[in-house]
């Protein structure tokens, strides 16, 4: 289950979470591909690094391996940020 915030909720059709199946041993970049296929608008923002992926409450590198039970979220630009 992937938590959504801010604009990504709207782009996912106003849902607060995404349920996407990801085989074991996959990485953040594989997750991005799966999201891209299902929600291309979110996928585009992920590719551009406008939306970041967090794993266990830390912003994750695309090569990080995602494990079962990890807490995953999509983070659009923060209110105060300038990235």
């Amino acid at each position: 289950m992937i938590q959504l915030f801010g604009m990504t909720k709207m782009l996912a059709g106003n849902q607060g979470t995404l349920s996407l199946a990801l085989p074991d041993g996959k990485r953040v970049k594989d997750l991005v591909s799966v999201i891209d296929a299902a929600y291309p608008k979110i996928g585009e923002l992920l590719q551009k690094k406008k939306v970041l992926v967090s794993v266990n409450q830390e912003i994750a590198h695309e090569d990080l391996e995602v494990k079962d039970g990890d807490e995953i979220a999509l983070l659009p630009p923060f209110a105060g940020g300038n990235r």
Partner: protein, 157 residues
Amino acid sequence: MSLEHSTKADLPATDDEAMLVRVQREDFSIDEELRRVRRRSKRIGGIAMFLGTARDRSKGKDVDGITFEHYEGMAQKKLREIRERALKDFGVIEVLVLHRYGEIGIGDNIVLIIAGAEHRAEAFRACQWAIDELKQITPIWKLEHTPEGEVWVEEHP
């Protein structure tokens, strides 16, 4: 019992410690939050504070109100990190970091940083660093309500 900052590491972790970093819906009183910081040490001589409030205009548009959304857990974690780094890196005695979420009316409080130090220079440095850092790393999002509709804002200055 003397609550000097030199012995702060030995203090029991009380409710107080959790109260020094909060993400909450409710409004807050600056006097009350100041008391939490000041009671930590009689060595405090300079307290720098930053209070962020909801402006009625943003980038040339009227704003009627704001909704803040946060990532529960990660937001608190980042604010705790900010407090701890401010304490470690800036030579201050105590730091409080507080952010509201939910509906915020124009003119209302959004965010409060309090940094208490022996002298004002450290207090200002820590306070300014903490609010800058908060805006960089804290997973909080802002939906502005304008006469033309609602907009997720990518940054607020």
